[in-house]
Structure formats: structure tokens, C-alpha cells
Symmetry: C2
Subunit: 274 residues, 2 copies
């Protein structure tokens, strides 16, 4: 499995991906799921991929050499596209091309060949943009209301994003948010594993040196893993246990609602369900 997450806040973007792939539990390997395309001062783009590894690797390899099919005699590539939208279209087109070649054989063998990608970055003259590209080559773009995308094993790491992430968040805090989201996923799903690739991009920079591969010994991530678990424990302990029966102070559990009576117990073989 895979977990990749990308956040876009006003101050910049954060990209993080795990590196575990599995084809059955006895065939687990480490593969990067992140590629960074950069021409300093001109463009900075990050591609994250999930799904069938052979498909996504082909897409990544081809993308570099591809040209947008309707771009005429002076072909549009990821290196001369003037908008991130063009790059997203190119990526979608590349995905379709790989499926045209490999899809029929994989389908006939009953192999799951889905592949979902996240593309984010900035090209000079444009604001930052973040896209989610589907297996079918179509794509959607993140907005201030939904300023993140996840691919792969997304559910465990989603609550923290839903609760914490806001577009006005400083970039360092957004980085923390992405790493806590990854930590929650690692904790609940064995098929998502270290090392984590992390790239942080500051809005307008058109380059980044904030790129790191986080493994077991990374001091910051080790602190998050230890500290987040303990703080959740403290948060949990800080909430009062429920008290049954009406109570003057506090928050009793058993103030009856009208619907209470509906949950009738069945006490005899002849009783009917309500």
C-alpha cells in the first residue's frame, strides 16, 4: 500500500510520501513514490504516485520526454509548459498512454492496475497549484476550501487534516500536520512504512532545498511519534468519563432523549423487533 499527502497553504506546499510497496505480505519492498522536477527560478514541481508500481513508474519515466499532443509544431513539455494546468493535462495524457499499452494485458490477467497521482508546484508567472490526477487521466484542483489531497491508504491520516489544516497556517505548522497525518497512518496500517520522503516548498521560491528522507533515526519524526501518542493519551485522559443517571453538574450521559424508547430490548422469543 501507499500513503501520500500534499498540502497547499498560502505560505507554500508540503509533499510527503511513504516508500513501502507490497505485492502480497511476503513481497514488501521500498520504492520512492516522489519525483521532484526543478529548474531554479523557473519552475518547481513534485509528483506523487500510488497504485500499480509498473504503471506509475512508466508514467514518471515517460512524463519527462512527453509533449502535449495538441501543442503543435513547438511541443509543450513539462519543461516549457507555461502553466501547471498544462503540466496536469500532459500528465493525464501520459497516464492514458501507459494504460493504452499495458492496460489490456493487466486487465486480462485480473491484476489491479489503478494508478492515482498528485501533482503540485509552481511555474514562474503563476501561483502555486495542486492537482489530483485519476487513473483515467482526468484531474481536479485543490481550492482554499479543500487545500489538500491524499492518495493510497488515506483514511487514518484524514481526521488530523480535517481538524487542523487551514490555508493560513504557517508552512512549518503545515509540515508538522503532514507528518502527524503520516504517523497516524503508520500506526494503523502495516503496509505503509518508513522511510518518508518530505519536500517543503515556499510560495514563490521556484526552488527548494527543504527535501529530506525521514527514517527511523530522524530526531523530529521520532519526537512526533513519541509525543503525539502521549499527547493523544493526555487529551483522552483529560475528558471526563461518562456518568449514568441525571447529574447536577457535569455532562451526564443518560439524560433521556425522546428516541430512547425506540431501543427496546427483546426479552422473549415472541417479542417483535420495533
Amino acid at each position: 500500500m501507499t500513503y501520500c499527502v500534499a498540502l497547499k497553504v498560502e505560505a507554500g506546499m508540503v509533499f510527503a510520501s511513504d516508500s513501502r510497496t507490497n505485492a502480497g505480505f511476503d513481497q514488501i519492498s521500498t520504492f520512492r513514490k516522489m519525483v521532484v522536477y526543478e529548474r531554479p527560478g523557473d519552475r518547481f514541481m513534485v509528483l506523487l504516485s500510488s497504485g500499480n508500481l509498473s504503471i506509475s513508474q512508466s508514467v514518471r519515466e515517460l512524463l519527462q520526454g512527453e509533449a502535449l499532443s495538441d501543442s503543435g509544431p513547438d511541443p509543450t513539455t513539462i519543461w516549457n509548459a507555461t502553466t501547471m494546468f498544462e503540466v496536469a493535462r500532459l500528465l493525464g495524457q501520459t497516464v492514458r498512454q501507459v494504460y493504452d499499452v499495458d492496460g489490456p494485458a493487466l486487465r486480462s490477467a485480473g491484476i489491479d492496475y489503478g494508478c492515482t497521482l498528485i501533482l503540485g508546484g509552481q511555474i514562474r508567472g503563476e501561483p502555486m497549484r495542486l492537482f489530483l490526477v485519476y487513473s483515467t487521466g482526468n484531474f481536479i484542483e485543490a481550492t482554499p476550501e479543500t487545500c489538500y489531497f491524499q492518495i493510497g491508504e488515506a483514511k487514518y491520516g484524514k481526521p488530523v487534516l480535517d481538524r487542523m489544516l487551514v490555508p493560513t497556517m504557517p508552512l512549518a505548522e503545515a509540515t508538522k500536520c503532514a507528518l502527524v497525518s503520516i504517523d497516524s497512518t503508520l500506526k494503523s496500517n502495516l503496509s505503509v512504512g518508513l522511510p518518508i520522503d518530505l519536500v517543503v516548498y515556499e510560495a514563490g521560491a521556484l526552488q527548494s532545498d527543504q527535501m529530506i528522507c525521514i527514517d527511523e533515526v530522524n530526531p523530529y519524526f521520532a519526537m512526533i511519534r513519541e509525543s503525539w501518542g502521549q499527547r493523544l493519551r493526555d487529551a483522552f485522559d483529560g475528558i471526563d468519563n461518562p456518568v449514568w443517571g441525571p447529574s447536577g453538574a457535569g455532562h451526564p450521559l443518560s439524560v433521556r432523549s425522546d428516541r430512547y424508547d425506540v431501543l427496546r430490548k427483546i426479552q422473549h422469543p415472541g417479542d417483535k423487533l420495533v
Copy 2:
């Protein structure tokens, strides 16, 4: 969708279920997913169901009248079974029976007709037991190592269980744990909704009056919804943001690991992926 969770700790058991069903987003209804079978002093059992509503309702209705098929002239029913294992077998058999009748038509119409159930409780002379019964009628039992089961939209509410739940937890704390798990699920998935049915059973009691239907105005659940979100926020804020670059104190993010170099940037059209 549905979310049901059942916990078994040494002090007792907690059962909770939401009540939203949907057949498409414009056909959302409220249906109970919990049934309580009780004969005070003799047996107390709770059944939670997820999946196709017509299948699970038929199973619940039939279960009351069914007898274990190999139980001879003096048939074993849920009311005279001497072990929870027998009740689980009966439930599995009932599930298979409903599938025999309804399965072919649903399958030929391409309708998803899965149905997964949780059965827990206690019969006099036995300890408490908790089972997960699959669509195929087979089942597994909870153990001290894995002392909970979830069905339906399980992932959002799983991290809190993985982190907090231990079999030695007091029953009131286990109740809080179940409700926090439900709150996390409500927060991230629209298709899981209030009211929540909650039953708490004390080990050995063979009956329970701790049954409640939790709606929007329940003071305890309202406090959890408010307080858990705020405490998560505080826990999140309490963790330092990452600092790039080596640092004397604190937990720097950018202490390079050996694998750092592998995440190479592609800076020219001719560059190769590593």
C-alpha cells in the same frame, strides 16, 4: 454507510452503532443497527449489523425463531443455547439461510449484498464473549490482544482504539473510548450519522439498563465532540514545529540520513530517474 464498534474489557462490554443508511446520497434514512436480547439473570446479548439493510433485517428477524440445524429433537435457539459460541453458530447459519434465499437475485442485479455482524454478550455459566460474523457465516472471536471489533466505516475511528484501548480499562473509560471513536468517524464521513445507540454491559450482570440513544442534545456526547476537537488542537499545538538545519537543542528535521541523496531532483529534460 454504517459504523458499529464493540469493545470487550475485563470489566464489561460496550456496544455503539450509528443509525444512518444510504442508498445514494439522496436516499438517506435512519435505521437502528442494534438489537438487544435479554433475559435478566440468564443471558444478555447484543447484535450489531452493517451492510445490505434488507439482508441484515431479515437475519435479525429470523434469528429469534431459528434453531441450530444440527441440534436434534430439542432444538437450540438463542434463548436456550448454553454458550455464546452456539449463538454465533446459529447467527452464521441464519446469515447463510438469508443468502440462499436472497443472494441469487441480488447478485444477478449487481447489487452489493454484503452483511457483516458483531455479536457479543454473556450467558450464565460462561464469561463474556464477542464475535465478528462474516457474510459467509463464519466468525472470529475477540481476544485480550484484540479486544474490539468494528464494522462498516471503520478506519477513521480505529486509531483511537489502537492507541487507547487496553483490557484493564474501567468500563466508563471504555465507553468514552467508543464514543471518541464514533466522534472521529462522524467528523470525517458524512454517511455515518446520529443518533448513536449505546449499550454498556457490566461483566456478570446478565442484564443492563445502561442503554441510551444519543442525539444532538445529549450533554455528554456534545461535550466529547467539543472537547476532543479542542484537546486534539491543543495536543497538536503543543508539538514543536520542525526546524530545518542542524540544531543544538530541540529535534531538527534535517539531520541528513544516508538515504537523503536518493531523493535527487530532476533538473533537466535529460536527467534520469534514480
